[in-house]
């Protein structure tokens, strides 16, 4: 692989509150052949600790490829990348520490369960990361309860005997058990029922708000992006095209449709109101719109 040369170490100016710093990150799957189409081109971004970032874009735009760089599943080919102080331009970054700190939940994570019991499956991470065995059960209990399952009830069950939604929670627990500082989620709610979606998102939000976990969520559901993310990054054909707070991004209705994305319902509603001359304060969901409208009504009545 023609590495070297093009890989640039991260400058030492990266601030301690920066979780992810990428500069001109470029990647192609067939690095050797010239025909290899680029999957990522010149991605530059900085994500601070504690942010909730949504990553959106059409299928094949490079979202999964990018997020797999964050825990060195894909190795840096060009540009520079620093994750939680690990300089991935190095030949041998501390993979174990990096992967412990960057939890990654793949699409349909329930398909990776393998162990005889839920407890054993959840402890796979800590075991690999060299956490003392005496702490495993305690950590697993915490993680399983965090995802809303009853520890005593499920711990000795086979993961294959659980329902689809429960399996996904167990898979989540298997990542959360390592107490990651960055949580990367690749379409975490795909294929779940509305209730399951809501619960997963609630959990992610809780981790973000209460424990300060940096969240990077790949999603196709703009409503959930709008409601949860502080910041939306849009990929198109391997390039970063927008990096805006959702309230600003979804004002650009034409551009959004151009990229085959939909405008979230709340944003569309606010846009229509705005065109009618009614400007609401920033609203994330229906409840907030309702509250804002009530406030407006009371204001005009008074």
């Amino acid at each position: 692989m023609p590495r070297a040369k093009k890989i640039v170490p991260t400058p030492s100016v990266v601030e301690p509150n920066v979780a992810i710093y990428a500069d001109k990150l470029t990647f192609s799957y067939n690095a050797k052949s010239t025909s290899g189409k680029r999957a990522l081109t010149d991605i530059s971004l900085t994500i601070n600790r504690g942010e909730f970032v949504a990553l959106v874009g059409h299928t094949g735009s490079g979202k999964s490829t990018f997020v797999q760089h964050l825990n060195a599943l894909m190795r840096l080919q060009q540009g520079s990348l620093n994750v939680l102080g690990h300089d991935l331009a190095q030949k041998k970054p501390n993979l174990m520490q990096l992967r412990k700190q960057v939890g990654m939940v793949f699409q349909y994570p329930e398909y990776q369960l393998f162990a005889d019991t839920v407890l054993e499956d959840v402890c796979f991470g800590p075991k690999n990361f060299g956490v003392p065995a005496s702490e495993h059960e305690q950590l697993a209990k915490k993680a399983i309860e965090l995802v809303g399952l009853d520890f005593e009830e499920v711990k000795n069950k086979s993961p294959f005997d659980l329902s689809g939604g429960e399996k996904r929670r167990v898979a989540f627990a298997g990542v959360l058990v390592s107490e990651p500082q960055i949580l990367v989620l690749d379409e975490p709610t795909a294929g779940l029922d509305p209730q399951g979606k809501k619960e997963i998102l609630q959990l992610v939000r809780k981790l973000n708000k209460e424990q300060g976990v940096t969240v990077i969520m790949v999603s196709h559901d703009m409503n959930e992006v709008y409601e949860n993310a502080d910041r939306v990054i849009v990929f198109r054909d391997g390039c970063l095209v927008y990096d805006l707070p959702p309230q600003q991004l979804f004002r650009l209705e034409n551009e959004i449709e151009d990229m085959n994305l939909e405008v979230p319902q709340v944003a569309a509603f606010c846009n229509v109101l705005e065109q009618a001359g009614i400007t609401l304060p920033t609203c994330h969901n229906v409840e907030e719109v309702f509250a804002a409208l009530c406030a407006l009504k009371e204001g005009s009545n008074a």
């Binding site: 799957y29 797999q68 825990n71 599943l73 993979l95 174990m96 992967r99 412990k100 960057v102 939890g103 990654m104 793949f106 699409q107 994570p109 398909y111 990776q112 369960l113 393998f114 162990a115 796979f124 991470g125 075991k127 690999n128 990361f129 294959f160 298997g174 990542v175 390592s178």
Partner: protein, 278 residues
């Protein structure tokens, strides 16, 4: 990346060889594979090489793709060559070192074996590079049809084959995904002793098997719900037809191997023509 494995995968283009009937190609390929074992001399191998090069030329498949298929079995090739080299004890002793002795006949036998295997792989990959798996299974089904009179399940066999083939890309992709997911949870596959490494594959194999069974079941349900039945007289969507290309291709190949068989059969009578036997 696992999906880089391209051993003998269909190469999409238009050519004389591509448009030949899959059944003819399959038969000719079998003829080639058998015939190659009747080649005894380097002159014969040169003759076969010429034939192969012409066939490759008419297939518009880049030579690189064919050579790549040899790379996959390079270990097997080296092993065969080494075994032949060290265990043939004929002719003049060339080198002797410790328990190893190399005779000139050993070198010749090894070289011939190597050529045979390389040609074998090249010939069969020419078939798979120019024939889609679907066409290939249809060809097998069609060729096995006469066996139906003795209740041989030709159609079912072909169906199993084509389903297997269609599952492979998905399984490879799935394997890639599972490996990534377990790596993200700290799994490593290249550290520790042999037992530890073998154990490291359990978290990959189990989800892969479970997933495979799940997909097979889904497929079975989908087929059942469409009332699929293999036994009834099904017709093919694409009817295979012979053309002048098949005649030309078959004639040339048969001529080449007829020559080889004749030379082989007559090798005792013609022993005065020494160049034939070099």
């Amino acid at each position: 990346m696992l999906r880089d494995v391209t051993f003998g995968q269909y190469y999409l283009t238009k050519s004389f060889v591509h448009s030949m009937d899959a059944r003819i190609k399959l038969i000719l390929c079998l003829l080639f594979m058998v015939g190659i074992f009747f080649v005894q001399s380097f002159v014969g191998f040169a003759f076969v090489a010429l034939f192969l090069l012409v066939a490759i030329g008419f297939s518009h498949v880049p030579l690189g793709s064919i050579v790549k298929s040899i790379k996959g079995i390079i270990f097997l090739l080296c092993l065969t060559a080494l075994l032949n080299m060290f265990f043939t004890k004929d002719g003049n002793l060339l080198v002797s070192w410790w328990i190893f002795e190399i005779y000139d006949q050993g070198l010749i036998v090894a070289a011939k074996m190597l050529l045979r295997l390389v040609f074998l792989v090249m010939g069969s990959s020419l078939l798979t590079l120019t024939t889609t798996p679907v066409d290939l299974t249809h060809a097998i089904e069609s060729l096995l049809k006469p066996l139906k009179v003795i209740k041989f399940p030709a159609h079912e066999l072909a169906l199993i084959m084509s389903l297997t083939l269609s599952f492979i890309p998905g399984l490879i992709e799935e394997t890639d995904r599972i490996i990534s997911a377990q790596k993200a949870r700290g799994a490593s596959f290249d550290s520790g002793n042999l037992i530890k490494r073998a154990k490291a594959f359990v978290p990959i194999l189990i989800p892969l098997l479970v997933g495979g069974f799940r997909k097979a079941e889904e497929l079975a349900n989908a087929m059942n719900s469409r009332c699929y039945e293999g036994s009834t007289n099904r017709t093919q969507m694409r009817v295979m037809k012979l053309s002048w290309r098949d005649l030309v291709g078959a004639l040339i190949t048969v001529a080449v191997f007829a020559t080889i068989f004749v030379v082989y059969a007559m090798r005792s009578q013609w022993s005065t023509i020494t160049w034939l036997y070099f």
